[in-house]
C-alpha cells in the first residue's frame, strides 16, 4: 500500500516537473516582453515596466501590419488549399481502390522519407526561372500537396461509414455532392486536427520562406524574428514582445480546436 502511494507520488512529481518545464518558457516569454534586454539576459523573471518601450521599439523596427498580413495570407491560403487537395486525395485513395493506385500510394509513402533539403535547390531554380521568386505563390505552392496529410486523411477515412455513401448514392447524389455534403460534415474532427497541424506548420515554416521570400516587405513574422535574433547584440525585450505576438495565433487555434484535435488523432490512429 505504501509502495503504491510512493509510486503515485513519484508520478505526480514527474508530471508536475514536466508540466513546469513545458510551461516555463511561455511564462518567460510573456514576462520577458515587459523587461529590458539587459534584465532578460541577467535572468530577471518577474514582471517589469518596459512593456511599452518594447512595443514601441518593435513597431518602429518592424512593419507589423504588413508582416502579419504576409504570415496570415501564406498560412491561411496554404491551409485551405492543403486541406482541400489532401482530403480529396485521401478520400479518393480509400474509397476507390485499384491496384495501380495502391502501388502509387505506397510509392508516395516512400517519398515521405526524402528530406526537403533534397528538393530545395531545384525548387528554387524552378521558381527563379518562372520569375516567381519573392512571391506568395512561390511560398505557398510547394507546401500544398502534403503526403503526410493525404496519409492522415486516408487513415481517418477508413472509419467513415460506407453505408452513408451508398445511401446518398441511392438518393441520387453525385460523387462531389457526397464528398461536400456527407463526408465533410461527418469528418469534422479530422479536418480540425488537420487544420491545427497544417496551420501551425505553415505559420511556423522557416527554411523555404527564408529561401524564397527575399525583400523585407514580403517576409513573414518568423523570418523577421530570426533576423532580429541574429543581431550581434539582440534586443531581447523587443524580440520577446514580437515572439508573444507571433505565438498568439497558433495558441488560439490550438485552444479553440484542442478537443477536436484529440478526437481527430484518435480517429486516425485506430
Amino acid at each position: 500500500m505504501t509502495f503504491a502511494l510512493v509510486r503515485r507520488g513519484l508520478i505526480y512529481a514527474l508530471l508536475s516537473l514536466a508540466a513546469f518545464i513545458s510551461i516555463f518558457p511561455f511564462y518567460w516569454m510573456v514576462v520577458g516582453a515587459t523587461n529590458t534586454s539587459a534584465e532578460i539576459i541577467k535572468g530577471k523573471s518577474s514582471i517589469g515596466s518596459a512593456l511599452i518601450t518594447n512595443a514601441m521599439a518593435f513597431f518602429s523596427q518592424v512593419d507589423a501590419v504588413r508582416i502579419f498580413w504576409n504570415s496570415g495570407v501564406i498560412a491561411i491560403v496554404g491551409t485551405i488549399l492543403t486541406l482541400a487537395v489532401s482530403s480529396l486525395a485521401g478520400y479518393g485513395f480509400e474509397m476507390f481502390r485499384s491496384r495501380i493506385r495502391e502501388k502509387l500510394f505506397g510509392f508516395l509513402l516512400l517519398l515521405l522519407s526524402i528530406p526537403f533539403a533534397a528538393m530545395m535547390v531545384p525548387l528554387f531554380v524552378m521558381f527563379s526561372q518562372a520569375k516567381l521568386v519573392n512571391t506568395f505563390t512561390a511560398a505557398i505552392l510547394p507546401t500544398v500537396a502534403s503526403i503526410f496529410i493525404i496519409f492522415y486523411f486516408r487513415q481517418a477515412t477508413k472509419a467513415f461509414p460506407r453505408e452513408l455513401r451508398d445511401a446518398a448514392k441511392i438518393d441520387g447524389l453525385k460523387e462531389w455532392q457526397i464528398f461536400l455534403y456527407v463526408y465533410l460534415p461527418v469528418m469534422r474532427s479530422t479536418y480540425a486536427a488537420a487544420t491545427i497541424i497544417v496551420f501551425m506548420a505553415n505559420w511556423n515554416n522557416y527554411l523555404w520562406p527564408l529561401v524564397v521570400l527575399q525583400t523585407a516587405d514580403n517576409k513573414t513574422i518568423t523570418l523577421i524574428l530570426s533576423g532580429l535574433t541574429a543581431a550581434y547584440t539582440p534586443d531581447y525585450g523587443l524580440i520577446l514582445f514580437g515572439t508573444v505576438l507571433a505565438t498568439l495565433p497558433t495558441l488560439i487555434i490550438f485552444f479553440l480546436l484542442q478537443r477536436r484535435f484529440v478526437e481527430g488523432m484518435l480517429g486516425a490512429v485506430k
Binding site: L14, L15, A18, A19, S22, I23, P25, W28, M29, G43, A84, S86, L88, A89, Y91, G92, M95, F96, R97, R101, L108, L111, L112, S113, I114, P115, F116, A117, A118, M119, V121, P122, L123, F124, V125, M126, L141, P142, A145, E175, M200, N204, Y206, T222, L225, T229, A230, P234, Y236, L240, T243, A246, T247, T250, L251, Q258, M265, L266, A268, V269
Partner: protein, 297 residues
C-alpha cells in the same frame, strides 16, 4: 454490362479525386527530386554545370566541414531521438491512468510546446540560456553547478542545449500519438495481468511496448527524418553560422550555406542532400528490421 460500366466510372472518379494532389506532387516534389539526383552528379559554380561523374562523392570524403556536419547531425540523432521517445512513452503511460487527477492539465501542458514555431522557441531558449541568464542562475542556486555554463559559447554545451531544446519542443507531440494509440488498447488485458500479479514494469515491457510497436516505429521514423533535417534551431541559435566552431553545423545548414551563402555550387549541395536521403533510408530500414525481429522472438 451495367456493372462493368459502373466499375469503370468508379475508376475514373478515383483518379479525378487524387488528380490535384498528383499534379502538385509531380511538379513540386517528384520533378525536383529527380532533378536534384541528376544535379548531384554535376560540378561547377552557379548555373554553369557540367557532368562530373562521381567527382562530388570524392569531394565529400575529403571535405572536413561536411564530415563535421555529418558527425554533428548523427550526434543529435543518436542522443535526441531515444531520449524523447522514452520520455513521451513514460508520460503517455502515466497519463493513460484514468484515476490520475489533473490529466487534462498535464496533457495540455506537455503538448503546449508544439504550438510554438521553431524560431520562436529557440529565441526564447537563447535568452533563457544566456551566460547570466535564468537557467544558469537557477542551477547555481540549487548548487548543481559552481560557475555559469557557457551554453551558447562552448562547443559541447551548445550541442547539449540543442538536444534539450528539440526534446522540449517535440516530446508532447509524440506523446499524443501514444496516448491516442493507448486509448484503443483493451483495458481488460491490463486488468487480467494486474490480477495475476504482473508487476507494473513488466506490464509496461510485455504489454504496452508490444502493443504500441507500430506507433513507436512510426514516431521513431518521423523523428529520425526530422532530426536528420535539423535546420531552424541551429540556424537561429548560432545566427546562421553553425557555431561555436562548427559544433552545431548540421547537414541541412551546410546545404543552405553551400547554396545561398558561399559561391553557389548547386551540384555539390545536391550531393550533400542525397547523403541525408541515404541516411534516412538506412536508418528507417534498420528501425523496421529491429521492430520485426522483436515480433518474431
Amino acid at each position: 454490362m451495367a456493372q462493368a460500366k459502373l466499375h469503370r466510372k468508379e475508376q475514373v472518379t478515383g483518379w479525378v479525386f487524387i488528380a490535384p494532389a498528383l499534379v502538385l506532387l509531380g511538379l513540386f516534389m517528384i520533378y525536383p527530386i529527380v532533378w536534384s539526383l541528376w544535379m548531384s552528379f554535376q560540378v561547377g559554380k552557379g548555373m554553369n554545370l557540367s557532368f562530373g561523374g562521381f567527382a562530388n562523392i570524392v569531394r565529400l570524403t575529403k571535405d572536413a566541414v561536411f564530415l563535421r556536419a555529418l558527425g554533428n547531425t548523427f550526434t543529435f540523432f543518436v542522443f535526441q531521438v531515444p531520449i524523447m521517445i522514452v520520455l513521451a512513452l513514460l508520460f503517455a503511460v502515466a497519463l493513460n491512468d484514468s484515476t490520475l487527477k489533473f490529466r487534462g492539465f498535464f496533457r495540455t501542458a506537455i503538448f503546449l510546446p508544439c504550438a510554438t514555431s521553431l524560431i520562436a522557441y529557440s529565441t526564447v531558449f537563447k535568452s533563457m540560456f544566456a551566460i547570466d541568464g535564468v537557467v544558469n542562475q537557477t542551477l547555481m542556486e540549487l548548487h548543481l553547478i559552481a560557475s555559469p555554463i557557457s551554453w551558447l559559447g562552448d562547443p559541447f554545451w551548445a550541442k547539449v542545449l540543442i538536444i534539450m531544446a528539440i526534446t522540449w519542443r517535440w516530446t508532447g507531440y509524440n506523446m499524443i500519438f501514444y496516448l491516442a494509440a493507448l486509448q484503443n488498447v483493451d483495458r481488460s488485458i491490463y486488468e487480467a495481468a494486474r490480477i495475476d500479479g504482473v508487476p507494473a514494469w513488466a506490464r509496461f515491457r510485455y504489454l504496452t511496448i508490444p502493443m504500441l510497436k507500430p506507433v513507436i516505429l512510426f514516431t521513431t521514423v518521423i523523428s529520425t527524418i526530422g532530426t536528420l533535417q535539423l535546420f531552424d534551431e541551429v540556424y537561429n541559435f548560432s545566427a546562421g553560422t553553425g557555431g561555436p566552431a562548427d559544433s552545431t553545423l548540421t547537414l541541412s545548414l551546410y546545404i543552405y550555406n553551400l547554396t545561398f551563402k558561399f559561391m553557389p555550387s548547386f551540384g555539390y549541395s545536391a550531393t550533400v542532400s542525397w547523403v541525408i536521403v541515404v541516411l534516412v533510408g538506412i536508418l528507417s530500414f534498420l528501425q523496421f528490421m529491429i521492430a520485426r525481429d522483436r515480433r518474431t522472438s
